[in-house]
């Protein structure tokens, strides 16, 4: 679908008014920090704040989507895989510490469905908090690196890449369902009690989780912003717009795309890791095809090439989903699909580009021929 976007969203910040630009970005970050860390915790109830924590996890995924899709043109329709890997890595650790706290050898579901009383070998290292934390990011990045290496080298792109990444999301969730004894199957890893020694039932600790998530989001936005304005970011846009030309300049586009893909996967993994203490569950239904599409819809609606647009879009769509899907459970899926088609087909820059589009339309009707020759 990326191939059909003939007018990619405007991504280049105009060089005019450098003084204004210098303060715009730090001011925006400061505003975001005040809203997320200062106002929201005061203004929202515990329940609403924990919902916002969940939405912010989706926003973290959207930061990666903005990099890979918005700037790199990679339609990452399978980010659920990476969120899932990060989430399961975290949940496995938390289940093990929960079990240990209760004086049991195995997590609860394994006692019910497990084949013996021994922990599977691949669960064992996750008892170590350092290992588990590292894996929440490194495992998704490693999978993305292997996959991306194979796929980009063979010049798979556009819709084919999107379908492939989506198939992977389906494959992982199906596999997880089939492994009830070791992964909890359809139920997933549920009923998580503690988070590194803090009880998640305690609202104070829930607020702490929220603060961690908000801080990580801001941090990753800063990181993504640095990538956007760096030379790498310019090159990534060049690859998105004309991969062949970049190759003739002596670069290997496969490597350039791989970096964006791997970084986006790491972000999704971290989002998954934070999702688990925020929501208390990770399951195949949360990482399959439908949620994977959901991750990109927010970014598409908000504006995938704009970091702030993607983040706000992700939060808004997640909010709309939990609000509307309660009232109209059947209609939401259609609405979601419609939103996606509308955003990608008619407003590729998302709502973030609405101002630019309207301004351009006004000038076009005002003065018929602008400076465009050729």
């Amino acid at each position: 679908m990326t191939t059909t976007t003939t007018t990619p969203p405007s991504t280049v910040t105009p060089p005019s008014t450098p003084l204004l630009n210098r303060f715009r970005v730090p001011a925006g970050f400061a505003l975001g920090a005040v809203l997320l860390l200062g106002i929201a915790p005061v203004a929202l109830s515990d329940f609403r704040l924990s919902l916002l924590a969940k939405y912010l996890c989706y926003a973290i995924v959207a930061v990666g989507v903005s990099l890979a899709w918005g700037r790199g043109g990679l339609m990452v329709l399978g980010q659920g895989v990476f969120l899932g890997l990060g989430g399961y890595a975290m949940a496995m650790h938390l289940k093990l510490t929960d079990a240990a706290a209760n004086g049991e050898k195995l997590p609860d579901f394994m006692q019910l469905y497990g084949s013996g009383d021994a922990l599977p070998w691949w669960w064992k290292p996750f008892a170590n908090p350092g290992f588990a934390l590292a894996m929440t990011v490194l495992l998704p990045m490693a999978v993305a690196a292997v996959l991306g290496f194979l796929v980009f080298r063979r010049r798979v792109k556009g819709a084919y890449f999107a379908i492939l990444s989506q198939a992977l999301a389906a494959a992982l969730s199906i596999w997880l369902v089939g492994q009830q004894a070791t992964t909890g199957g359809t139920n997933g890893l549920t009923d998580i009690q503690g988070f590194f020694g803090y009880s998640l039932d305690d609202p104070v600790n829930q607020r702490m989780v929220y603060f961690v998530i908000a801080a990580v989001l801001l941090l990753l936005m800063a990181l993504a912003r640095q990538l956007f304005v760096s030379r790498y970011g310019e090159l990534l846009v060049a690859v998105r717009d004309s991969e062949e030309r970049v190759r003739f300049l002596g670069y290997n586009p496969a490597n350039i795309k791989l970096v964006a893909y791997v970084v986006a996967a790491g972000m999704a993994g971290l989002a998954g890791a934070l999702f688990v203490p925020a929501v208390g569950i990770i399951s195949p239904a949360l990482i399959g095809i439908v949620p994977s599409i959901g991750f990109v819809i927010g970014a598409a609606v908000g504006g995938r090439a704009s970091l702030v647009g993607a983040v706000l879009g992700a939060v808004a769509v997640a909010w709309a989903q939990s609000t509307l899907s309660d009232e109209f459970p059947a209609a939401w899926t259609y609405l979601q699909g419609l939103l996606f088609v509308l955003a990608v087909g008619f407003l590729p820059g998302g709502l973030a580009s609405l101002g630019v589009v309207l301004r351009r339309r006004r000038t076009r009707t005002g003065t018929p021929a602008t400076g465009e020759t050729a």
Binding site: P15, S230, E234, V237, A238, E244, V246, F248
Partner: protein, 262 residues
């Protein structure tokens, strides 16, 4: 004289049984300004595609002591061969400066890549000067006039530090003034580069070519200076047989006073 020469021997490109390039030999000396002309379908662009690694070919293409055939596109580019395409392929979303900076950047380290560009690199500044785009450096490349886009592409090859430039119809669709400016630019560039130009425009060829190769049906029909090629009976036959192609002798060489603009 600088730049690097190109030696092509018995080059053949076949697509599904159709032979587009059929045993071409070419010797392009360092510092040459060579024009490749010939009717449509003569294999000019395919020849350039083969040299730059875009299509598979047999035979040999030697450049700077290496055989290019079988190497991937980006390797050949890094050896010092740059090309343009019939349609300007610049990054329209990026500014002129960003376009040139990217072209200059293959082989940058990770650390440099992850940081913002602080100033204008020296080769980029020189290319802006050479192509006359200094004033426009912060404009998105997409809004440039047609001629300026082609110059930007040539500028991108210059900062890429290529030794051999392969230009596919650089003056197609240009006004007379733009053509002359492009010709002068190519002349300047060929002082320290080897330049190969695919062209249909006979006026342009006559004014600026240092040597000419005529391709026909995938083979080299004739080769030499402009005068030698024009005197060649075989060349006349090929061109006279095709009404759509401008005839070498008949077209006036004096610049036309009326321009397409204004």
């Amino acid at each position: 004289m600088s730049g690097e020469g190109l030696t092509v021997r018995d080059l053949r490109v076949t697509f599904d049984g159709f032979t587009a390039v059929d045993g071409v030999d070419l010797d392009i000396r360092p510092g040459d300004l060579r024009f490749l002309i010939g009717p449509n379908g003569a294999g000019k662009t395919t020849l350039v595609d083969a040299v730059t690694g875009l299509v598979k070919a047999t035979g040999s293409v030697r450049f700077g002591g290496q055989d290019l055939l079988g190497k991937p596109v980006q390797k050949i580019a890094r050896l010092g061969i740059g090309r343009t395409f019939q349609t300007a392929s610049i990054f329209e979303e990026l500014t002129v400066l960003q376009n040139l900076d990217i072209a200059a950047g293959a082989g940058r380290g990770v650390w440099t890549m992850l940081r913002r560009r602080k100033d204008i690199p020296e080769p980029v500044a020189r290319a802006l000067e050479t192509t006359g785009l200094t004033e426009l450096r912060d404009r998105p490349a997409g809004v440039l006039a047609h001629g300026q886009k082609q110059w930007l592409e040539i500028g991108m090859l210059l900062v890429q530090d290529v030794k051999l430039l392969l230009l596919d119809e650089p003056v197609a669709g240009m006004s007379h003034e733009e053509r002359d400016a492009t010709g002068e630019l190519l002349r300047r560039v060929s002082e320290d580069h080897t330049v190969v130009v695919i062209e249909h425009d006979m006026d342009f060829m006559r004014s600026f070519a240092r040597s000419v190769s005529v391709l026909h049906a995938g083979k080299v029909l004739s080769e030499g200076t402009v005068a030698e090629v024009q005197a060649d009976a075989k060349v006349q036959e090929v061109y006279l047989g095709r009404a759509s192609e401008p005839e070498p002798e008949a077209t006036p060489t004096t610049p036309v006073a009326v321009t397409e603009e204004a």
